[in-house]
Symmetry: D2
Subunit: 468 residues, 4 copies
């Protein structure tokens, strides 16, 4: 359903907990708060001390677990996963965590990110007799880990991770330990929290707030965390690079109440709006934002510019997966779906409309038209991030370069295509200022989709067929 609004989609969120009697239930609530990171499927693997047990399925967290019997998911340790839906691969097998049943050692994996060299590694493994049951790149790590039936420990995990190229945040659960690993560039988010005596790991800190846990620290690039009843241990499996957290996490993907790498997402968005107001001011009557992700930047723009912020577009909360899409005929007659203009606010006004990104331009065009139909005198589009011109190889599902409007058109053309009276984007510097508290040697952001500077070297585009 997001597809109507935006063609950017995150791929997955992970959650893990060690040392709480209600591990599976807390994972359920944690996954709930990470639901925005993936709506295709969800799952939990719990360690009951004897065996790893799994409950997973296609659908939203609520749907998957509505008939779950948590009394059959007993245990003090669990990991969970929410998965984003890509076309054609929406199959149960790919829902994570992946559970591998071994006579001596079972094991479960949950993954957020994208392994750039997965295709190559998988080909090599298959030639050696490995059998794959999913089309997920996550399974590759499992086979690397168990090559020759070796033990799973810090060393073997480190060796296996060093064969992977890409962006990843991994949770690995064995009967004895919970491991958390972040790729050497730290593109995807992964944080550690504390809940009483229990340790919690999650893609976003909002999961900590959801269950009443406190933030402890970030997992750092190239770090492998080991958690067991002895406590928490850290090694580096590789030399760490400058961290380059994905800028789109701040711009669009993460929940506003999360802190990513110590920076609050809502605050960074509001600051994007402020920077944008400085860079691209405009005389107008009101400032509005496209719900939900652009509300914060719209408020920032309004505050900086002194113009009133208004609720010019409303989002229908009850639109769901069972919603019957209006026919083309009815749509042309004006039947709305997810977003509706507030005519009483818009009519006769010069509107500054804040959005966080333009991908193909079709949605923006529709929204601008909707505002004009509702009587807006002028619509000035302001995008709280630089233009998206390149595909992402690190776990975000964007359109191909051919479809990216900003890769194929200059700013005036874009304004014309979407029907805006003017358009302006935030600069790269403005985005960096809004996100990074201080620019330092070990703190940076990945803006590859905007500026083409890919932080991980090996990229073979046609190989990228699987992601988690």
């Amino acid at each position: 359903m997001f597809a109507e609004i935006k063609s950017i989609n995150d791929e997955c969120g992970v959650f893990g907990i060690w040392g709480h009697e209600k591990a599976a239930e807390l994972t359920y609530y944690g996954l709930h708060s990470l639901q925005h990171r993936g709506q295709e499927g969800a799952g939990i693997v719990v360690n009951d001390g004897i065996e790893l047990n799994v409950h997973k399925g296609l659908g939203l967290v609520n749907d998957v677990f509505k008939d779950a019997k948590f009394d059959q998911l007993q245990g003090r340790v669990a990991i969970g996963h929410v998965r984003y839906s890509t076309q054609g691969e929406k199959v149960y097998e790919n829902v994570q965590p992946l559970l591998f049943r071994g006579q001596t050692a079972s094991m479960a994996l949950a993954h957020n990110g994208n392994i750039v060299n997965a295709y190559k590694l998988r080909g090599r493994l298959e030639k050696q007799g490995s059998i794959f049951q999913t089309s997920s790149d996550t399974e590759v790590l499992m086979h690397l880990l168990k090559r020759n039936g070796q033990d799973v420990n810090e060393e073997t995990i480190g060796n296996a991770l060093n064969q992977l190229v890409g962006a990843y945040a991994y949770l690995i659960l064995t009967k004895k330990k919970l491991y958390a690993a972040l790729d050497p560039t730290g593109i995807r988010p992964l944080s550690i929290g504390i809940l009483g005596n229990a340790y919690v790991v999650a893609s976003e800190t909002c999961a900590f707030d959801q269950i009443g846990a406190s933030f402890l620290r970030e997992v750092t690039p190239g770090e492998l965390i080991t958690i067991d009843d002895e406590g928490i241990k850290s090694i580096r499996f590789t030399a760490s690079n400058q961290r380059r957290m994905c800028a789109m996490e701040y711009v669009y993907l993460a929940r506003p109440d999360s802190n990513l790498n110590y920076v609050n997402v809502h605050a960074s968005r509001k600051q994007m709006g402020k920077e944008l107001a400085k860079e691209a001011p405009k005389d107008a009557d009101i400032v509005i934002g496209v719900p939900d992700s652009s509300i914060s930047s719209a408020i920032g723009y309004a505050e900086e510019s002194g113009l009133p912020y208004e609720m010019g577009i409303i989002k229908n909360r009850y639109v769901g997966r069972t919603f019957i899409q209006p026919s083309q005929e009815l749509r042309e007659q004006g039947v709305k779906m997810k977003l509706a203009p507030v005519r009483g606010i818009i009519e006769g006004k010069r509107v500054i409309m804040i959005d966080d990104s333009i991908v193909r331009g079709t949605t923006s065009k529709r929204i601008v038209q909707m505002l004009k139909d509702a009587g807006a005198k002028e619509v000035h589009v302001r995008i709280a991030a630089p233009p998206i011109q390149n595909p992402c190889y690190y776990g975000i599902d964007m359109s191909t370069r051919d479809e990216l409007i900003a890769a194929n058109h200059n700013i005036d053309e874009i304004a014309e295509i979407i029907g805006a009276d003017s358009i302006a984007y935030l600069s790269e510097e403005g985005l960096e200022r809004a996100i990074l508290k201080e620019k330092s040697l070990n703190q940076g952001i990945c803006m590859a989709c905007m500026n083409g500077k890919y932080p991980v070297k090996e990229i073979v585009e046609k190989e990228v067929v699987y992601s988690s």
Copy 2:
């Protein structure tokens, strides 16, 4: 699920359309936009020119119609209804529209409001041999209409309506005509729109925007509208009083993008926030609102006061009816459900928290505590409406007087109970200024739940057992 947040609940929304090939589908989209007015059940009756056919069921509009075959709901005329869920009466029979099948004349009814003398009328009818199949007060009108097998027309409808006391917006569908009627005081909203050659009637104008229709005019107090292929006709079935639209529609119930009696709901809420900032200012760091209904007034308060508006509380969008409620134990450990604080925003701040009402106080207490747990230095509660001290007899399901915190405690006690550092309510005058563009002889609002001035005289509290 609203019950967690608030103990005020609207009761029902109605929608009707005459003269469009896709009458049932458009009613479906219209009901969708009125979903916030009732989540218990939904239904559509369509006139296919030969017979009235019904599709209805318990649940959200999407759930009820997910398997509907609209090709079996052909016809150019339809009415629809969404119903609010009250405890214990959640049965299929009460879902509207009610359809009565007659050999010579079938008929359907959809109703928003509450008939104060329904119990008395029903008793009298039963003694005369009338048989009731629902516990809804809506059925009473049907029996009044058909007494002695008389024809249904403007005159007989007017006579029947004149026996009703209370607040109501009625849609009546026969094979030949669509009638819309509003009670003599106009407490509940009802508007007329145009879509091409078709006429549309709805509880809120957001339904017009949803389907691309234009607003034509309000139905006025004591007016009976008749729509057929000849066009639209109006009579008065009683002398009209000063219109007294329910203030809570503006404060809490209606969608912000609707215009009620020519006043935009979001704009009125923002104005409530501004009036509140004037009446009850406070030195603080940030202004936040309780989602969703208090966001507009929080923005208004911020704008008037010059303090920054921040997104201090986030609402989990994926909480639904299948959500597994956390156990008491987990809740005490801090597991959140619907609302979560944005710690990165709240921490160390003096917060002005805008809410639209306090009913029993339990939710407010929980939210204030949540903010303090998230590190708020001070929490100053500002309510964008006067205290609720009396029950409503006109179609809103509030707690009884015993449960209303403001009926039993003064302002200092309330502050202490909910744990706020200070608390203030908007005055009645402030609320009137925010809603009414001009105070005139024929424009007023009903604030009975706040000031006890009931606009309809006959109230016998114990009789009020049924409502629609």
Copy 3:
């Protein structure tokens, strides 16, 4: 799904119990055993001593009650109903028991049969102001009962029943009493049983066996039974006629383990087979029956003739409502659905195939063809009842006269049409001998669909639009 096999369908079964703590649950089990009498919908009304509560829905008993909370259906008295599905009227409203809510007296009705003059009565009632919410003829009795708001008691019920013409077995539940009534000719079955101190009433005695109750006696024609805590009471609301139990109940509709009017159904069917063997012998290798209803008569035929009975046709037990019907193309290629031949038995044999009836002939033709395809050398069809040549007005849904093969073709033509090597029917006298233990003044059977002798005089065919 029965439609494939047969075009005869029963219409409804009723069950009632007075005086057991688990009244609703026992009704559930009772309805379960009556499931063959109706698969469209099912419902239970239970009297909890204060109020009548209902749980009903469309679908099989299991489906309707799978989420039922029997702890919310407390009470010592209940009635239930299973309803047969007719095309076009498969709506929730028609599912019984019908519950009428009154301020002073609620009431529920369950009905098996057909009221011949329902249309006329309903028209008269509507003209007097009665409002109907269903298209079921059952509702007519309710309005007759409550005319002028009168009390419901033996006298008023008797008066109301005397206005009805047709075949009916009625259960009427008020807060104080449970009534059971049978039409003056006793066409439909209705028996009384005892379970400890409780009384049970049911359409078939198999419901007594299901719950461990013992048979007490039949309800007799024109009798009104009243059950309450004082015990059981009987009056006659009309002079009784000779009982004329529907022959098709024995031939096809009832469960073989039921006793109808003191005669076991399986035993009567086996006797039909024996009579048939005497009347229409044939030299052949094996005798087979069409499952399920013709197995008993096939065994009887085999026993009488000395030929071996074999299982020549098997019925696929897992065919259900979600079964995906094979396309025409696949069906022509030989894909079977419900019935399959046992090739190992049939091949090279001269087969006597026993069936209980031929309605339109299409199913018989398909079965004969199937046997021949499986290698049968000859197929001799023997029907364990006389030809069906007339419609039923008393509650069985048959085809119209135009469609009845035996109404339009002689026996040789029928054999040719269905592809049988020979065909023979049981005589009327043979059927009577098989069913009636002794032919007496007050014991007879209704064979109107076979011989056109309708036991109830008033029949106006076009009026017959509603049945239960």
Copy 4:
């Protein structure tokens, strides 16, 4: 639901088709006819010429495929599987066919039987780095096949099969070929049929009748069949032994209309009844069978003995998985579930009750009691097979030896325990006579569960943890 009646359960059925445009649909109908072999889950893998695609799930065939889109399961080749439910392993992962996705070669497996040395093989494979995702022994073959990334062909399949010990019927689907293999002793059934130009393979011939296919021949012990567009090819992967088809397939498991190894199941059962009548005659009034599997043998007993066969027990056809089980209290009061006595038949009679087996004796005891409660004067139990005294290691889920009544009690004790007036079993010789047309060197049956003569040597009881 079978568990109530019997504690013997088959484990799985397989179906495959090569060369028909509607391969997936025909597999659906084929699986439907094999539904009695497994109700836990079902699946189909179809080869669309480019890729193998799977649709599978927990539940009955109808449930699993009710939302299947067969237009997305295009292809001329498919295999399918129905799986029996064992306690605790009822998970999606184990539902077959298992699909393994490889970059160069995908592959699917469907299996009926039990691999005796699966645990040992799996342990060895895991030590070499193999990763298992199911707890099914079927997965072992896959890993054996793909060791070292070798090609899958007749030779490698033969080598892999030669490492397996046990009873199995395997279907293996690659992109290019469909393989069918039977273990060296031929314990489980597997037949080949023809439908036009297409080849069909199935566990039972009833699947051929279901889709209109003709039987071609049996797969023989130790044979590997290869089917592709060139036609059908056969090799032997091992020297064949005397075939020892499982006797319980005839006695209880298979459908009566199937021919197993050229012998019709119904006919063999009827013959068991006749042999039993010769071996254990008894003066009585009627012969009855326990539905469904003992009806044939009861008819045979009746025919041989000259006593009348009667329908003394009826099976409730609508009992399903959603059936609410009666509480202990209600059961004690006599509420029946699946089987009900026909009182009108049983009362006052001396009854010979034919059943096919007694496992733990609890069900038999309940049925005998039920007959006595229904008025049977005497109940003489006759079992149409020898006593079951040993566990099965070849794919049938029986109770352990401790629970088998005949392993722990002599015949008089059993009669007393189940409350029968007398009891007798068929002899081993009688069973052989009934099943085998001629006793020859290469035709035998496995009666290990009766006589302890296990045809496969290697049996290590504790290893047997997985079966398919």
